[in-house]
């Protein structure tokens, strides 16, 4: 008899449990890193390069050192001995290069915002006062900004010491017959795409408070990060500290989205400065600094074509992605990962026999780009789906019909993509059908036609997608990255009969703690309110991968489930001894241990705990009375648990102004077992809006000399309430059989296809006007240019 068969009573997995930590947020009682202060704390401010590329010819900090309230002013030389450099390359990206980095620029500045000097003062205001007194002179070097020009053999180098000029990495993924398939295909559609750089704009900036105690050589770092264990390892290795002496605590984190797991110059400088000066050092970038130093993402120039047969079956795609990433590759995940996912996710929903994807990752003098929510997905999805829609128009097929004819059938799994991904089980057909009903597709088409007659241009766009979740060790570990592929949980029964869980996945508002409580509550027969979950502290929780790449629920949830089962087995064994029953015949339910064959035979968990903690003498000799168990789990089945879904966007384009109004958005998603439908839906909604921001508004704009020209929230347009649509969501549930829980990830699903659906919708609206747009964000200017209203 397995544990599942024994389950009776209320099940909490699958219910919309409210988040307890949301109660703290609404009461104003959250504790973010930006809220923390410590005695003797110093505040850091950075002097940054105003030029995109240059050589430091003079750096005089003497006047700043003498300014009121200033404790120290540090330059590269001051930190050289206490922080070793880092280099963002991984072995499995064969041949990739990148120059190494130190916390502060030594001789060469590589982007506008490159930190050159750090001021430590009694207040941030005083640190900023002193930063005005630093004399910095830079001899300007040619800035590399355009990725195509960067690849030209005569191009200046973005980083003088780059080994292979401006090429960071190049790879080609190819099946045998691509050229022949294209030569013989009945239809070929092709297009060029430009995807604008954008950035995370978390409302809480990255924040760090590093506190080194020289008397014990212990470093405690309070940091708004997703990955405290990774930073524990990073700080220990680069600052020469015992790993056991480094503690990273991530309290409430004001948004992360992949942006808060990279190693940044400032964080390393702050931790090093605390070690050097033996005082707590706090750094919170201001909003301009976040635009100049947070990783940016996307930025792809793609040429792509798709071959189809006469009936509209996709035969092959041929894709060339040029991905500029800034002057070096990010540490420790590299800046290659996004492009790598772009070329591997092309055509993922479809039965497509042949494929060629070429990726060139290019250096330039802008902020580093790296992983950000839905790494690579929005690009691959937009390219694929734009080509599918273009083919549908060419073939006179309805967008739903061409997709129905091409998606991998729901009964055809396991299946393998042309790019080599192994799919366990996906549900494209069911999702397509469900979406069509959800959005009332046929009525929308009728309305569209009627409105066009009145000069109103509405468009409908759909975009199926495949999302990579629950990555295994082949994702980063295989390349040598010290990023844990597994997670750990400790579950304990308190002496009062309640549960406490310490787990390595982290919470940034997704509801991590809530879903873990639901899972553990079900395994122990408790109410989730009786399960306290602790996250985000390397000292009190097991080490693990934490929260990124949609692994929290799937891997972390499975970890908690297995740990709780271990504890349940312990509880059954101990209570079995008391009740004189075989532990296997006992069920945990309603806060008690109950005999499966006789419900009258039962004891409360508090009684089990009381006996185990206070009266172990009454138990048979030698019985294991452990009521804390630990378990670690790493996925060992498929390399990834892929999810799928489909999105639709309904827009209205004003052809006179080029402004696009988002009317409505729909998502059908299959993330396997839904642990908490409320939280899943809100993850999807938030993700969709991040994708819509990219589609219409968000872009880091640079001039030709590498100056960022929109470094404020007045000029960088994040999605705001008035412009965003309501979003309807439905689900299909195909649990993964790789785990007991069956959950896959969902955090990136919304972002993965939202911009693709929006782009298809805009192009659907523009179709009768003879215009087409393949660049994001789809700004009024770009739309007016597509319409040839503006010709210069």
């Amino acid at each position: 008899m397995n544990a599942e068969g024994l389950r009776i009573g209320a099940r909490h997995v699958g219910t919309p449990l409210r988040r307890e930590n949301a109660r703290r947020h609404v009461a104003g009682r959250s504790r973010f890193t930006t809220d923390l202060t410590l005695p003797q704390m110093l505040h850091a401010a950075f002097v940054r390069s105003p030029l995109a590329h240059g050589r430091i010819t003079e750096l005089d900090v003497s006047e700043a050192r003498a300014a009121p309230g200033v404790h120290a002013v540090l330059t590269a030389a001051d930190l050289a001995d206490c922080c070793t450099p880092w280099r963002g390359t991984l072995d499995h990206f064969a041949g990739m290069t990148s120059v190494s980095q130190r916390p502060l620029a030594e001789e060469e500045v590589l982007w506008v915002g490159h930190p050159v000097a750090m001021i430590l003062a009694e207040s941030r205001a005083m640190a900023e006062d002193a930063s005005e007194l630093v004399l910095l002179d830079i001899e300007e070097l040619p800035a590399v900004t355009d990725p195509h020009a960067a690849l030209h053999p005569d191009s200046p180098k973005a980083a003088l010491e780059a080994e292979k000029g401006n090429l960071c990495f190049e790879t080609v993924l190819e099946t045998g017959a691509v050229d022949q398939v294209f030569a013989e295909a009945a239809h070929v559609v092709e297009e060029e795409f430009t995807f604008g750089r954008h950035t995370a704009v978390t409302l809480e900036p990255r924040a760090i408070l590093a506190d080194f105690d020289p008397s014990t050589r212990r470093l405690t770092v309070h940091q708004g990060t997703q990955t405290p264990y990774q930073f524990q390892d990073t700080f220990a290795r680069h600052l020469g500290l015992e790993q056991s002496n480094v503690r990273v605590i991530s309290p409430d984190v004001g948004g992360s989205f992949g942006m808060k797991l990279h190693v940044y110059h400032e964080e390393m400088a702050v931790a090093a400065a605390s070690v050097l000066h033996g005082r707590p050092v706090r750094y919170v970038p201001d909003r301009l600094e976040t635009f100049l130093s947070d990783i940016h993402a996307r930025d792809h120039r793609i040429t792509a074509r798709m071959a189809l047969d006469a009936e509209g079956h996709i035969l092959a795609m041929d894709v060339h992605d040029i991905a500029p990433i800034g002057p070096f590759s990010t540490y420790p995940r590299t800046s290659v990962a996004e492009g790598n996912q772009v070329i591997r996710l092309m055509g993922a929903p479809y039965r497509m026999p042949d494929y060629r994807g070429r990726l060139q990752v290019v250096f330039q003098n802008k902020v580093q780009t790296s992983q950000y929510r839905a790494v690579g997905h929005p690009i691959a999805c937009a390219v694929t789906e734009a080509l599918v829609d273009k083919a549908a128009v060419a073939l006179g097929l309805d967008p739903f019909a061409i997709r129905a004819a091409n998606v991998i059938a729901d009964d055809a799994y396991p299946a393998r993509s042309a790019t080599g991904f192994e799919f366990e089980a996906l549900s494209h057909e069911e999702c397509l059908g469900k979406l069509r009903d959800l959005m009332g597709y046929d009525a929308l088409r009728e309305q569209q036609a009627a409105l066009r007659d009145r000069g109103i241009y509405r468009g409908i766009g759909i975009a199926p997608f495949v999302e990579i979740t629950n990555p295994g060790a082949t994702f980063y570990g295989i390349g040598g990255a010290r990023i844990s592929a597994q997670d750990g949980a400790i579950v304990k029964l308190t002496p009062g009969g309640q549960a406490q869980v310490a787990i390595s996945i982290t919470e940034q508002g997704q509801g991590t703690e809530t879903i873990i409580a639901q899972i553990v509550a079900d395994e122990l027969g408790l109410d989730p309110s009786q399960v306290r979950v602790t996250t985000g502290d390397t000292e009190t929780t097991p080490s693990g991968g934490a929260t990124w790449a949609c692994r929290g629920a799937g891997i972390g949830g499975e970890t908690a489930l297995r740990a709780a089962r271990k504890l349940a087995a312990q509880i059954r064994a101990i209570s079995g001894a008391v009740l004189q029953k075989d532990g296997d015949t006992l069920i945990l339910s309603g806060g008690a241990v109950v005999s499966a064959d006789n419900p009258m035979v039962a004891m409360d968990l508090s009684e089990v705990a009381r006996i185990a903690y206070y009266r172990p003498d009454t138990l048979p000799a030698g019985i294991d009375t452990s009521l804390s168990v630990a378990h670690h789990f790493a996925p060992s089945g498929y390399p990834f648990d892929f999810t799928n879904g489909i999105q639709a966007s309904h827009v209205e384009v004003d052809p006179e102004t080029g402004i696009v109004r988002l009317l409505r958005h729909w998502v059908v998603e299959d993330c396997g077992t839904i642990i908490n439908p409320l939280l899943v839906d809100e993850q999807i909604r938030g993700g969709v809006v991040q994708g819509l921001g990219a589609a219409l508004f968000e872009e880091c704009l640079y001039d030709e000399s590498g100056q960022l020209t929109n470094g404020s929230m007045a000029d960088y347009l994040v999605p705001m309430p008035c412009e965003m649509p309501d979003i309807a969501i439905a689900h299909v549930e195909t649990p993964t059989k790789d785990t007991i829980l069956g959950a896959k990830g969902v955090g990136e699903a919304g972002t993965a296809a939202a911009s693709a659906a929006a782009m298809n919708a805009v192009n659907d609206a523009l179709l009768p006007l003879g215009a087409r747009i393949t660049q994001t964000p789809m700004t009024p200017l770009r739309i007016l240019r597509a319409l040839k209203t503006i010709t210069d």
Binding site: R48, L51, F291, S705, G711
Partner: protein
């Protein structure tokens, strides 16, 4: 970004040319110029306090007149650092042409800012640069006139 302008001056090209190389006229013409010190025949170090609406920053830098074709054309270049406000540089190609009443001065200027000013001010950089360029040549025309009047 390219800016252009045209001024009609009531002085022959030789007088205009001399004025361009007169540090006093130059100092009086550069908007917000606080100090101007000669470092060579046509090279100066300068402190300039720029004030445009919500921005006021003190720039330290240099001004140089190069590619001089006497009484016909030259390039005036300037480059300055405004500390944490960022950097600014500009170059202006100035051409003089004699007319019946004096000289027509035309210029094509090009301005660039870096750092915080670029990141925060892009919406208004062109208007700002145009305003400063206009101010420079308007000041120049005024001072040229008063110099002539003083000389007369």
């Amino acid at each position: 970004m390219e800016l252009t302008g045209r001024y009609e001056l009531e002085a022959p090209p030789e007088v205009v040319w001399d004025a361009l190389f007169d540090p006093e006229v130059l100092a009086a013409s550069i908007p917000g110029c606080e100090t101007l010190q000669a470092e060579g025949p046509a090279a100066y170090t300068a402190t300039v306090k720029l004030k445009v609406g919500p921005v006021s920053a003190r720039f330290k830098g240099n001004v140089e007149i190069v590619d001089a074709a006497p009484c016909r054309s030259c390039r005036i270049t300037g480059k300055g650092s405004g500390g944490i406000a960022g950097v600014a540089q500009g170059a202006s190609l100035v051409a003089l042409e004699a007319t019946a009443t004096g000289t027509v001065l035309t210029y094509t200027a090009d301005a660039k800012v870096g750092g915080k000013l670029a990141a925060l001010g892009s919406r208004l950089i062109e208007s700002t640069a145009r305003k400063l360029a206009d101010q420079f040549f308007a000041n120049f025309a005024t001072h040229l006139k008063s110099r002539q009047e003083n000389a007369a």
